[in-house]
C-alpha cells in the first residue's frame, strides 16, 4: 500500500502546524522587521527632507538676514560717513571761526597795541615837542621880544569889542576900586612899555585903570592881564597850553 491514510492525516496536521509555526517565527517577524525598517527609512528620508527644507529655509533666512545686515551696515556706514563729514565740516567751520575770532582778536590786540604805542609815541612826541618848543622859545625870549609882545598886546586890547570888552571893562572897573588888576609878564617890563600899556588900557576902557605889574618867568614870553577873575592873555605859555589841550582832545577822540 503506497498510501497510509493515518500518515496522510498526520502529515496534513503536521503541515498545518508547520504553517502556524513558520507564520509565527519566520514570516511575521521578518515582514515586521522589513516594514519597520522601511518605515524607519521613510521616516528618516522624510526627516532628512524636512531637515533639508529647514536647512534651506535657514540658509535663505540667513542669506536674507545677511543681505539685510549688509544693507543696514552699508546704510549705517554711509550715515556715519555723512555724519562724520558733516561733523568734520562743522568742526572745521568752528575752528575757522575760532581762528577768525582769534585772528580778529589778535588783530584787535595788535591794533590796540599799535594805537597805544601810537598814542604813547604821540604823547611823548607832543611832550617832547612842547618841551623843545618851550625850551627854544625860552632861549629865544629876550627884552626886544618882550617889547614885541607888549605891542601885540596893546593892539589886541585896542581891537577888542563886543561882549568880551564889556565883561573885561566891568571887571577892570570893579578891580580898580578894591584891588588893582595884575599884569604879568615873563620879563621885567620897562617903564615905557608899562606906560604904553597903561595908556592903551585907559583909552580902551575910557577910565583910569589901576594896574600892578608883576614878573612871571613861567609865561615864557607874552603878557597876561588878570582882573577880578577875568583874564586877557597873549603869551607863549598860553598858546602852548591851548596847543596841548587841542592835541589831547584829538588823541582822546582817536
Amino acid at each position: 500500500m503506497l498510501i497510509d491514510w493515518f500518515t496522510v492525516g498526520a502529515q496534513a496536521l503536521n503541515f498545518v502546524i508547520l504553517v502556524w509555526l513558520m507564520k509565527r517565527y519566520l514570516y511575521k517577524p521578518i515582514l515586521n522587521a522589513i516594514d519597520a525598517r522601511e518605515r524607519r527609512i521613510a521616516a528618516e528620508l522624510a526627516d532628512a527632507d524636512a531637515k533639508k527644507a529647514e536647512a534651506q529655509k535657514d540658509r535663505d533666512e540667513f542669506r536674507h538676514k545677511n543681505e539685510e545686515f549688509d544693507k543696514q551696515s552699508a546704510a549705517l556706514l554711509s550715515k556715519a560717513t555723512d555724519e562724520a563729514k558733516a561733523e568734520g565740516r562743522r568742526l572745521l567751520e568752528e575752528a575757522r571761526k575760532a581762528a577768525d575770532a582769534l585772528s580778529a582778536k589778535r588783530r584787535e590786540t595788535l591794533r590796540n597795541d599799535a594805537r597805544n604805542l601810537n598814542q604813547a609815541i604821540t604823547r611823548r612826541a607832543q611832550q617832547e615837542v612842547l618841551a623843545i618848543t618851550r625850551k627854544a622859545l625860552m632861549d629865544l625870549s629876550t627884552t626886544s621880544l618882550e617889547e614885541r609882545f607888549s605891542n601885540v598886546f596893546t593892539r589886541r586890547l585896542r581891537e577888542m569889542n563886543g561882549r568880551p570888552k564889556e565883561t573885561l571893562a566891568n571887571a577892570l572897573k570893579t578891580a580898580s576900586e578894591t584891588e588893582p588888576a595884575v599884569l604879568r609878564s615873563a620879563f621885567d617890563m620897562p617903564s615905557e612899555q608899562r606906560a604904553t600899556i597903561q595908556n592903551a588900557l585907559n583909552e580902551t576902557f575910557a577910565a583910569d585903570i589901576r594896574v600892578r605889574f608883576e614878573t612871571a618867568p613861567d609865561l615864557i614870553g607874552g603878557i597876561e592881564l588878570t582882573a577880578n577873575g577875568q583874564k586877557v592873555a597873549w603869551s607863549i605859555a598860553d598858546y602852548l597850553l591851548s596847543l596841548e589841550k587841542g592835541v589831547g582832545e584829538l588823541l582822546n577822540k582817536q
Binding site: L2, I3, D4, W5, F6, T7, V8, G9, A10, Q11, A12, N14, F15, V16, I17, L18, V19, L21, M22, K23, Y25, L26, Y27, P29, I30, L31, N32, A33, I34, A36, R37, R40, I41
Partner: protein
Amino acid sequence: MRLSPDGMIFWQRGFVKLNGTIVFTWALMLVLAAGSKLITRSLSMDLRRSRWQNLLEIIVTGIEKQIEEIGLRHPEKYLGFLGTLFLFVAAANLFTVVPGYEPPTSSLSTTAALALCVFVAVPLFGIMDQGVGGYLRSYLEPTFIMLPFNIISELSRTLALAVRLFGNMMSGAMLVAILLTITPFLFPAVMTALGLLTGMVQAYIFTILAAVYIAAATRPRKPEPAPQN
C-alpha cells in the same frame, strides 16, 4: 526493498503508528521552527543586520515576489501557506545529504497530504476572496454544463500534484539506492547532487502550481477595468 519511509515503523498500536515519514517530518519541523526562532529572536530593525537575517529576508521576500508574479494581489495573505509549502519541500530534499535521512516527500502519504492541503486551501482562499456564492459560481463558468468537468479537473489536479512530487522524490531516492548497489563510489554522489537540484525544482514547481490554483480560484471573473490614464 522499501519504497518510502512509511515502511520504517518505530512504534505502532492498532491504527496509530509512528513511522519514518512522521519522525523525519517532525525533525524537519523542529529544525525549521527552531532555526527561524533562533534567527528572528534578535531581529535588527536597523540598517545593519546579521547575515542570517539577510538570508531569511531574501528567502521571504523572494517567495513573496514569486507569489506576486503569479498574479496574487496580496502576497502576504498567501505567504504563510505557499511559503511553508516551498520551504518544507525544499528542506525535505536538501536534507538528503544527511546520511540515514529519508525525505518524507518520497512518501506518497506526505505528498498526498500536501496535495490534500492544497485541495482544501484553494477553495478556502477562493471563498475568503470572493465569498461562498462567488466561489461556487466559478464552477458554473463559462456554463453550467462545465460543472462536472470543473469538479473532475479540481480532483485530478490534486492527484496529479501528489503523484508528481512523490514520483520525483521517490525516483530520486530509489535511483541513488539502486546505483549504490551497482556502482558504490562516484556515481551515487553525482546522482545525489542531481537529486538536490531536482528536489529544489520540485519544491518550486509544487509551490508555483499551488499558487496558480489559488490564483485561479481567487481571480475575479470579470477583469478589472484598466486604470484611466
